[in-house]
């Protein structure tokens, strides 16, 4: 009666962001069958619209093993994806605007010394000499020479294309409407078009992953956040580093064409799927930008945008096995900082799918850190076996 296509495979993935797509690629490299369902276009959400910061510096210690793993993947990008995605190890410089900022950068360097980030503290005097373009509020900072930046619009779709070339079945414009588990197999259905049956399911649905988790009785305090982005017209090239500020507020980088990409502040949600910048945030960003980089005082903003990213209260992701449903693994909630670690999160999910455990420590990201499970919200998932 119905012409729905049924597909059996080893692993089903919901979400074609950088996490889901890199998991698909890693799974193919392990020789497992993969079907990825993306409701829109792969890499068109957070993963494709973010600032493009590829940095380890400043991350909590819990994330550094993952970030280091990701760093190695980023280093192999052309080989992996067939494109460099404009990834460059330009250096990431974290600015201190006070002595106490400087002290906390120093503490961070000491704390992260096990991780080989190669952080170098730069004094005010040296900064003046080396970066005459930097505004006078910077009293120093910390440089991570091997951190860098990339073009998310290119990188994230490229992960999905690479996965596809490696044999993953990628279904774009396939929204997952229903998921169920019969104790052994998952059923993932997209409208009347496709039903994927697989013993393993990866929930990589970004800011929307909470709805999937809920179907398996896992309620999470996941909320959406909307970082503000703006870009200037091209100006003569003056800056190689990607800049951040200790304590947050603003970050910026200059791309090869000369445009500056800036971020900072929070935007507004138009609906569950779409977001836009906020006028006050643009104003604040503009003031901070000129203060940080006086060269920008005559520049124009030509475009602004935002995106929708998932945040958990402790700003750590959920990465690991479901606690209700064997074979289900989550990877979401990257709190505005998942672009750099995304490819490593993908590899970890692939390992979990194959072996049930990962070679990178992920205990800090266990779903168990939240409240106990509730009743499954969906009857279709009611067969799920709590473990």
């Amino acid at each position: 009666m119905t012409t729905i296509r049924i597909l059996r495979t080893d692993v089903a993935i919901i979400g074609g962001g950088i996490v889901g797509a890199s998991a698909a690629l890693a799974l193919r490299q392990m020789g497992l069958g993969v079907a990825l369902l993306e409701r829109d276009l792969c890499g068109s959400r957070s993963s494709g619209v973010n600032y493009g910061g590829v940095r380890r510096q400043g991350r909590p210690m819990s994330q550094l093993p993952l970030a280091q793993r990701a760093h190695r993947i980023w280093g192999r990008l052309p080989e992996l994806l067939g494109t460099d995605g404009e990834y460059i190890r330009s250096g990431h410089f974290k600015i201190a605007r006070s002595e106490s900022d400087m002290a906390s950068l120093e503490r961070y360097r000491a704390l992260s010394s096990d991780f080989d980030l190669g952080l170098e503290l730069i004094s005010a005097a040296r900064l003046r000499e080396q970066c005459p373009w930097l505004g006078s509020r910077a009293v120093g900072g910390s440089l991570c020479l091997e951190d860098g930046q990339a073009n998310p619009r290119l990188v994230s779709p490229a992960f999905a294309l690479a996965a596809q070339r490696a044999g993953a079945q990628v279904f774009e414009r396939h929204k997952v409407d229903e998921v169920a588990h019969d104790g052994a197999m998952f059923m993932v259905r997209s409208g009347n078009a496709l039903e994927v049956h697989a013993p393993v399911l990866l929930n990589c649905a970004g800011a929307w992953a909470g709805a999937i988790a809920e179907q398996f009785g896992e309620t999470l305090p996941l909320r959406s956040g909307h970082p503000v982005m703006a870009v200037t017209e091209p100006v003569p090239h003056f800056m190689d580093w990607s800049l951040g500020v200790e304590g947050g507020g603003i970050y910026c980088r200059q791309v090869a064409r000369g445009n500056l990409v800036l971020g900072g502040g929070a935007g507004i949600a138009l609906d569950a799927d779409r977001a836009r910048v906020d006028r006050d945030a643009i104003a604040t960003l503009a003031v901070q930008a000129v203060e940080l980089l006086p060269a920008l005082r005559h520049a124009h903003f030509i475009r602004t945008w935002s995106g929708t990213e998932g945040y958990l209260p402790d700003r750590e992701p959920v990465l690991g096995p479901s606690r209700t449903t064997p074979g289900l693994f989550h990877g979401f909630g990257f709190a505005g900082a998942g672009f750099q670690i995304g490819p490593a999160a993908g590899e970890v999910l692939a390992e979990l799918a194959r072996d049930g455990r990962s070679s990178t420590p992920i205990e800090a990201f266990a779903i168990e850190r939240f409240d106990p499970v509730s009743e499954p919200a969906s009857t279709t998932a009611s067969d799920a076996l709590p473990h």
């Binding site: 836009r276 503009a286 930008a289 124009h300 030509i302 602004t304």
Partner: protein, 470 residues
């Protein structure tokens, strides 16, 4: 707003002081309201009735607007008569809309303020629709509208010996205006075929006076020895590399390649609506086959999908200046009715009928001056489509073939087309043609670029103004 609202509580804002915006303002004032009128231009009049700066106003309306001078005078006088009864913000760009407030950049002072509104009439008009030709980035190449603005606003010509090319009603009009102003018009090169024009005649005759004007321009040009070629395919703008300027143009006339010397070119393929504000306001868009574009949806009265937001004039589909006046008045009546005020419903119906009758004529125009369907097929790979980001037709095709881009926003993300200063307002139509052609889809299927603030570039160092004191 509910029916209990009084006139004093309403804060209607009109964006655009062209024929649509002016008539909307006049109608609101006649009903006792005090609208805010915001326009980027220093003086009201819009595109067609653009007024030169006061210190340059030595040319009479008759020389500036020709047959349109009476209408121009009428619109200008209507606007001037509103002084003191509206709040006019000239030189003011609406660059963002958020939460019932517009963000407005006052250009001379680079200051920005928020203008709250209870109701909004969007009458943002149109700009040229561009299909690039190799060499179009050379100095000396202008759009038809740009060429006309130079003449109307600044009182100067784009060159001494000018070729006008492309298609659309503006093609012959601007050529005529230039020739009348004493500029040597070397040729008019129309991509439409005579057969197109003949086939469209019955529809065009539904507006005999307008049709007659068009016939008159063509006849006048011919009588004054201007070469008129139809059914051409523009090949390239010839340029002097040293001087970096136009030296001529090459085209195909159906049989052979031909060239002609000139020092400036005005080109364009009719107009495209300015829709970003409607987009930022959240208006629903739909594909409009007659306009070959995705446009904000409005009903016959000008109501959009967003409560309290109305559209009038060319900003929601190119219908011309007369229809813009009627649509402006009609939208204002809708706003008044929605606010619980008594309006002349017979007048409202009559306006709708007039606009409706014009639609047949508009179809005729599209038929007479169709967008060349084979443009994308002939666009060479090294043709720059997006000037801001220097994206060529070849890059677009490559992006489509290699990365599988099949939709406008994906094409933008992967190729940078439409990412520069103009945000796709100039290159969007051409990029959509290339994408549709390369993927075998319709222009409807490839979708449209999503709008983002700012509508036009804004200085990073904006001076904030006291809030809300519009």
């Amino acid at each position: 707003m509910t029916t209990t609202t009084t006139a004093n509580e309403l804060r209607p804002v009109i964006v655009g002081a062209g024929p649509a915006g002016v008539r909307a303002a006049q109608t609101l004032v006649a009903h006792g309201l005090r609208p805010v009128v915001i326009d980027e231009a220093p003086r009201a009049g819009g595109q067609i009735y653009r007024r030169p700066p006061t210190d340059l106003a030595q040319r009479t309306a008759r020389t500036l607007y020709g047959f349109e001078s009476k209408r121009a005078d009428a619109v200008h006088e209507a606007f001037d008569a509103l002084q003191g009864r509206i709040d006019h913000h000239p030189d003011s760009l609406v660059w963002n809309a958020q939460g019932q407030q517009l963000d407005v950049l006052h250009n001379p002072t680079r200051s920005t303020r928020r203008v709250p509104y209870s109701h909004l009439i969007v009458a943002t008009g149109a700009t040229d629709r561009v299909l690039p030709v190799p060499g179009w980035t050379l100095p000396g190449v202008y759009t038809l509208g740009g060429a006309q603005v130079a003449l109307k606003f600044q009182g100067c010509a784009i060159g001494q010996r000018v070729v006008f090319m492309g298609t659309g009603p503006l093609l012959y009009l601007v050529a005529y205006q230039y020739a009348k102003a004493g500029v040597a018009v070397a040729a008019v090169l129309d991509t439409a075929r005579l057969a197109d024009q003949l086939a469209a005649t019955p529809a065009m005759l539904t507006q005999p006076a307008v049709f007659a004007k068009g016939v008159y321009y063509v006849g006048w040009l011919r009588a004054h020895g201007v070469a008129l070629h139809s059914g051409v395919r523009p090949l390239r703008v010839l340029g002097d590399e040293q001087q970096g300027r136009v030296t001529g143009v090459a085209w195909h006339d159906g049989h052979e390649e031909r060239t002609l010397a000139c020092d400036a070119i005005g080109f364009g393929y009719a107009l495209r609506s300015e829709t970003q504000l409607a987009d930022l306001l959240g208006c629903r868009f739909d594909y409009a086959p007659m306009h070959r574009a995705h446009l904000p949806v409005r009903n016959a009265a000008g109501r959009t999908s967003v409560e309290g937001v109305y559209l009038a004039g060319d900003g929601a589909g190119i219908m011309g200046a007369d229809a813009a006046e009627w649509a402006g008045e009609r939208a204002a009546l809708a706003l008044l009715a929605d606010s619980g005020m008594a309006i002349d419903t017979a007048r409202a119906t009559a306006l709708e009928h007039r606009i409706d009758r014009l639609t047949t004529f508009r179809r005729g125009l599209e038929r007479a001056f169709p967008l060349p369907q084979d443009w994308a097929a002939h666009a060479p790979d090294d043709l720059v489509v997006c000037r801001c980001e220097n994206v060529t037709a070849g890059t677009l095709r490559q992006t489509i073939a290699v990365n599988g881009a099949d939709e406008m926003n994906r094409l933008k993300a992967l190729s940078r087309v439409g990412m520069g200063r103009c945000q796709g307002r100039m290159c969007g139509a051409a990029a959509a043609e290339i994408l549709a052609h390369a993927t075998g889809q319709s222009v409807q299927q490839v979708g449209r670029l999503r709008g983002q603030a700012p509508i036009k570039p804004i200085p990073i160092r904006l001076v904030p103004c006291t809030e809300g004191d519009a």
